[in-house]
Amino acid sequence: MSVCLPPALRPVVQRCAGVLAAGGLLWPVLTGVSAVVPEGRWSFTPPAQAESFAGAPAHAPAQDWSFRGALGHFDLAAVQRGYAVFAGVCASCHSLTQVHFSDLGGMGLTPEQVSALAASWQVVAGRDAEGRLTHRKALPDDALPAPYTGPEAARAANRGAVPPDLSRIVQVYPGGADRVYALLTGYASSASAPGAGAARAEAGFANPYAIGHRTAMPPPLRENAVVYADGTRPTAQQEARDVTTFLAWISSPHADDKRRLGVGVVLYLCFLACLLVILKRRIWSHVEK
């Protein structure tokens, strides 16, 4: 059902990347703080292995996400690349049931681009005269189609495990974006080689960040799994970063709007509060306590 980086998207991503990079940079300039300050914890410190019990997931190292912190923002170019990874890789098993194609316009796409993007997906269009399912190209108003018809089909296709819905995954997954990233990149080396994991597939795949250090999800990302339209090299790490950014964005697509609104409102209210303090002092000036 899903396709590997829909051709319709390639020019879209290409066109938008430059614009978005600029748009994304504008925000820290406006606020003066945020992502400009590096946190100094870039990557890949070995995970602390202080579990309370044997199967507890390892602590995911903190990553330097652009959206982290009170004044963070989403790097929309990374969100778009992450969409390409989602559509090309994740969508074959995972759903985004709460998301409509029109919502993806928030990645920085024009309505035409959203229509083109939707048209690269097939959705069910009811049954024909013989009772067979028919399909059509998706429209912006459609929800993203789920890869399986229901939990039973998902279980049958995945050796008994149901791939979770990703609509709010970064919000509800304990550990958040750091752990999603750690899980995607943290497969034990023996399992990450293609084919080697198949023998042990019944028991799941070794991953220190999964509960019980085993996950039913095969290592999803490899080098060049997708082609990035903006020329970024699609290493497995880069893909994991981008798709995590995309999932964080889709979990709270209006977080940036909210922060932007908040800065304006707080500045305005502080000004108003100053005026009111002056007014109150004048009105109360002759009142002895």
Partner: protein, 460 residues
């Protein structure tokens, strides 16, 4: 500094004594004013003989000369005399009114998109957040508003306990206020069920089981509450209707609360024996009136400042730290087959949840946690002291005792919440029980005991 408000109001609202002693009544009244409205309001208060009229008459008399109408009503409320030494805790009431308006407006707009059906509720809330115009903003306002409303309400009640605002003649005011607290808590709970996430579902489940623990009628009540054997569409309909209707009931009760406040007058943080009664006494006599200021402009500007400061805090939490007021587990759709590891209510119910769990028996726990709210209704009758007796008592050796007792009460409340959060496991069980005891001791031991002690001291 020629500032018109100064002359226009101090002279014409019957508070000329307040102007640092320089204003004589007649002299100030002769000052020509360009404001007719102030003149009319003046008629209501100034002619009263000091100390002569009944308490309630002062604010009520104001609209009479100007006739009946919105303008007269507004003038009467603008002239409402308040003690001048009210501290910031007295602006919490204004904050609550502002928050109530916010909750009502955002709630009404949210209701346009929401669908109270077990299979549709979660996705209708998701659609609201993702696609409805400014839906994310409305929902954030409503969610953050719920937390701030409950926090402000607890502060308001605590202020009432601190300054004994429940004493005669304000028992009615206190009773209405406590009823409002109960209504708001029920509304908050009903509202939390509506998004139909995991915590909504399991919260409704726990609440229904708690209701079911009542002997005799429990089973029936549980059926009525759930509309079936387990939470479902029928429960959602009930909660939606309850949430919606109670919101307007609360508005009506707030109007009543404010009307009674205007009839009985406000308390104040200080007590001055020289002023012939508590400074919060309803009727200001000559000395007491000098401590009063009209509501407008003095307290309108103070309350507005309070509301703006609250709005700043509100925006900071809503826009930059939304995780403080949202429970992530509730972003998972309700799943009757999967019980979450940690079922816990919103923070504002945690103290009562802790009490519920601290008692081994199910029904006993329900009685204790429900009684923690119900006992507030009895406070005016548990504390038999008057302002005069207690002030006299405070000059005795035990001035520190009320402060200690209030601190114990506040700490117990917080500790109960923490114990509830940790499911009263291990050491938290002991903490939860001690805190529950501390909470009840304030009402059942300290209040009656202290009033009696103060009375004894006054007599001796």
């Amino acid at each position: 500094m020629p500032f018109i408000v100064k002359h226009g109001n101090t002279g014409l609202h019957g508070v000329r004594d307040a102007v640092s002693g320089r204003g004589e009544g007649n002299q100030m009244a002769e000052i020509p004013s360009s404001r007719e409205q102030a003149d009319q309001a003046h008629g209501g208060l100034a002619p009263e003989p000091p100390g002569g009229a009944e308490p309630a008459s002062a604010p009520e008399a104001a609209p009479m000369p100007a006739g009946v109408g919105v303008a007269a009503f507004v003038r009467a409320y603008g002239a409402f005399p308040l003690p001048r030494d009210l501290n910031f805790l007295w602006t919490v009431g204004a904050m609550l009114v502002a928050l109530l308006a916010l909750m009502l407006l955002s709630g009404l707009t949210l209701a346009l998109t929401y669908t109270p059906d077990a299979s549709l509720a979660f996705s209708s809330v998701e659609a609201l957040e993702r696609r409805a115009p400014s839906g994310w903003l409305l929902r954030s306002l409503h969610m953050t508003g719920a937390t701030f409303f409950m926090a402000a309400l607890y502060l308001h009640v605590f202020r009432g306990l601190c300054y004994a605002s429940y004493r005669a003649p304000r028992q009615g005011l206190w009773t209405i206020g406590t009823l409002l607290l109960v209504l708001v808590m029920v509304t908050a709970f009903a509202g939390y069920v509506l998004p139909w996430g995991q915590m909504s579902y399991w919260g409704a489940d726990v609440a229904s089981k708690a209701v079911g623990a009542i002997p005799l009628i429990g089973g029936t009540l549980e059926q009525v509450f759930l509309g079936g054997d387990a939470p479902g569409s029928a429960t959602l309909h009930r909660m939606f209707v309850l949430h919606f209707t109670l919101a307007f009931t609360i508005v009506g009760m707030v109007v009543l609360h404010v009307a009674v406040l205007h009839a009985k007058g406000s308390t104040s943080p200080s007590y001055r024996p020289g002023s012939g009664g508590a400074s919060g006494a309803t009727l200001p006599d000559a000395a007491g009136r000098s401590r009063m200021l009209p509501f407008h402009p003095y307290f309108t500007v103070k309350d507005t400042l309070g509301v703006v400061v609250l709005a700043i805090l509100f925006t900071l939490v809503m826009c930059f730290w939304p995780g403080l007021v949202s429970e992530v587990e509730n972003y998972r759709p309700a799943n009757p087959l999967h019980t979450p590891a940690n079922i816990e209510p919103e923070w504002y119910f945690l103290p009562f949840y802790g009490m519920l769990q601290a008692v081994p028996s199910k029904f006993g726990g329900l009685l204790v946690s429900g009684g923690a709210v119900a006992i507030l209704f009895l406070v005016p009758w548990l504390d038999r002291g008057t302002a005069a007796t207690c002030a006299a008592g405070r000059w005795g050796g035990l001035r520190w005792l009320p402060c200690v007792a209030l601190a114990v009460l506040a700490c117990s409340f917080v500790l109960c919440g923490l114990a509830g959060r940790h499911h009263v496991q291990g050491g938290w069980m002991l903490v939860g029980r001690l805190a529950t005891l501390g909470y009840y001791l304030y009402f059942l031991a300290f209040l009656p005991f202290y009033a009696r002690l103060a009375q004894k001291e006054l007599r001796s």
